[in-house]
Subunit: 459 residues, 2 copies
């Protein structure tokens, strides 16, 4: 697998000088990502592509080739894999389409590839995939601009989307800190189990977000899944869980959807965190890649608006989170910033304190109290986009408080989120995940608490 | 009720020259919103406030007063209502706090107000509310900047939040086109039934979004609710539907939460649309205020990414929407932009067509076909934030297509939404609602279809 993620040299079979062709776009991305190793364009008729010497066949390349990317018509792919075998290449990404996903003829072509690869002990990612986006290597044909993965979230997708627009978008908007993205397409050889197994021991990866439309080997998934989730959270969005979704999936990646009950059982046994939408796949990873694993499901809510406290309380209870009454020590610690006629309670209402002491001091007191309380596992802070909120955000007040404690904190920015472009508040050694809806934040936290309790129970 | 929404003159009892006091902020908002009628600050000791002549008592005001806003300590409020009675005022908004929501002493003060008001046939909004934000009148004490309501959505909130930060935010970010916002607080007299009854016949209001923490009179709500939902959709977020939420609600508006089963029964009978979060309250209104009522629940999905089509299909089926197979006419109309090896299906995959014909022509064909299909009730379009998408958005292509058809269209902008600030795409006589998650868009549409089918059935 190292040949895929840390190749010392890469060849692009089907590289092209035509800017509209994927063979050009892939090579351009590899060049632009400042890949440190050797790059070899392979093209029958060109001498030079994007300033690099091109070779008619991969066998003509002078040096060793760790990784080959193939982007030529489907019917020529098996031949290209043979060429790679002759050259001694051990890792291939096939991005060409027209295989399993288009029916019987395509399946035949895909089987040929598998046969050749097996014979020569070559690992194949794809076909019908967009490959890898990582710190050192970008093999997708989607235009990826200004993207430099440097985070701790790794995504696996049976879809080009993750490795394409979404990657570019996430990184540009800073909504998630990506480490690697792998698009595995039709999974003719390398599948989610191989990757989970690899990322389990990958120190750069703290969280895995995964989109699948089929399960390669259920038992193996549960086995590998248990191993990796004991070390780090794995979030799974399974597409094709309904009849309508399964039908759409058939024409997308040629997947015969697995029975949704079997998928759900695998998710439960492997302790995966189940997402139902791409937004959740991102939101959950945002929380889990920035905050420590909660030890339980008892939360304190801190809010300046009473009605928001009410609705968050509803959402917490509906998603299995508990809002305990505070013990005497926490009540005592809060009393300072509460008016006499209003005893401190959970949710903690900031309104009067903000008017009297300002938001910064109010947060110091009202967040520290529950964070110091052994009976509280996490804090939900709801902020509004008023001018004084922006001031506190600029001064990194919340980050400072978070840095002193080892419990998860989430911020729901109910109002004014267009002004907070970074969906992760950075700084002071601790980044804070921001959610734009109460329901989104509460759901993410409840999933994390659930995972945390399962993991702690397992220990 | 007209005195509240179209007053010819307004007095602020408790107006102040101190910029930190609510009595200043309310008066400032009224002045800044360019209220066309007379404004009378009432203050025992000031001669002038914000350039307006002030009066020691409301009885000293020379002209008639249609509406009085009271913002003085709770214990003096009943006296101020007596003064209003003497002056002949028929509509009062009490924004002061310290009533039902603080316990027994407050309840006593609130009862005094009710008694005086009843004796003199005065209608009272509040106490513990932030009043009205409308085209002609802004009575809230929250700083409202650059806000000029001119849309068709009216919000009713048992909470200051709606009339405060959220209003300001929605209007600034253009996520929703507001007509009026009413914060009704403790509802000592005017309640949701009065307002629904008024907005039922208000031509400026096409959709009502409502946040409640208690139900004043259940039977009346069902009666008024049925009448208004026969004419326009009403969305209800009920806070306090769980034990935790009900406890939080008690200290917020002093509400004893109604049993959630009774609330759910009322929602069903009145054909309200149930929201579970503030985000849904806004999202649903965004859809329902821009798009015609769907006649059924059969949708077509149009997407450039296969995996998104799969997940949307799952979400549709899970939320009760149907994705029918297209009939021969629609398939024929789509064939032009599909490659031979890929028969047109629902979801409609745009990928190949975009590469060949560009996005604008692709959308013309792929959206018109299902919109012309009598077996399709609505279209979900998923766009990504690539450069070519932005170009199509600037050219208002989707709006142009929408303007030719009388079926709802929603756009889910899965990627790149930070670049699309206006969450409603404007223009060409039809605005298009944009959602930032698949689940959010699908849920809103499913709620609207559900409403549409109930309304059509009722006719």
């Amino acid at each position: 697998m190292k040949n895929f993620f840390e190749p010392r040299s890469v060849a692009v079979i089907g590289a092209s000088n035509n800017e509209h062709k994927d063979g050009y776009k892939i090579l351009k991305n590899i060049v632009d990502c400042e890949f440190k190793g050797d790059i070899y364009p392979v093209n029958k008729s060109a001498d030079e592509i994007i300033g690099l010497k091109a070779y008619p066949k991969i066998q003509d390349v002078p040096g060793d080739v760790d990784l080959a990317v193939i982007i030529i018509p489907a019917k020529f792919c098996a031949g290209a894999v043979e060429d790679c075998a002759e050259k001694g290449v051990k890792a291939i990404i096939i991005e060409a389409m027209g295989f399993n996903e288009v029916g019987a003829g395509g399946t035949e072509l895909q089987n040929q590839i598998v046969k050749v690869a097996k014979e020569h002990n070559i690992r194949v990612m794809g076909p019908n995939c967009t490959g890898i986006v990582s710190r050192d290597m970008i093999t997708t044909f989607f235009p990826i601009k200004d993207v430099k993965p440097n985070g701790n979230v790794t995504m696996i997708g049976q879809s080009g989307l993750l490795a394409a627009g979404m990657a570019s978008d996430i990184i540009k908007n800073d909504t998630l800190k990506i480490n690697k993205i792998c698009s595995i397409g039709n999974k003719c050889d390398i599948n989610e189990n191989d990757l989970l197994n690899y990322f389990k021991d990958d120190d750069q990866t703290d969280v895995v977000s995964m989109y699948l439309e089929s399960i390669a080997e259920g038992k193996e998934l549960v086995k590998v899944g248990k191993e990796i989730t004991a070390k780090k959270p794995v979030i799974l969005l399974y597409g094709g869980r309904t009849e309508a979704g399964a039908a759409a999936s058939k024409s997308h990646t040629g997947s015969i959807a697995s029975n949704s009950r079997i998928v759900d059982a695998a998710i439960r046994q492997a302790k995966f965190i189940k997402a139902e939408d791409f937004a959740e796949l991102k939101d959950y990873a945002k929380l889990m890649s920035t905050m420590p694993v909660p030890k339980g499901n008892k939360v304190a809510v801190v809010t300046a608006a009473g009605s928001v406290g009410v609705v968050v309380s509803d959402l917490c209870e509906e998603s299995g989170l508990k809002l305990p009454k505070f013990g005497p020590q926490t009540v005592e610690a809060l009393k300072d910033v509460f008016p006499e006629f209003m005893p401190p309670a959970n949710p903690i209402d900031l309104w009067f304190s903000i008017e009297k002491y300002g938001l910064a001091k109010t947060l110091e007191v009202t967040m520290s109290a529950p964070l110091n309380d052994p009976d509280i596992d996490a804090v939900i802070l709801i902020l509004a986009g008023f001018d004084y909120t922006l001031e506190v955000i600029e001064k990194k007040v919340v980050q400072g408080i978070a840095a002193k404690h080892n419990k998860p904190i989430i911020v729901c920015m109910l109002v004014g989120y267009n002004e907070i472009k970074n969906m992760i508040l950075e700084g002071l050694g601790k980044d804070i995940p921001v959610f734009t809806s109460l329901a989104g934040g509460v759901k993410a936290l409840s999933k994390y608490c659930d995972y945390g309790m399962k993991v702690h129970k397992g220990k």
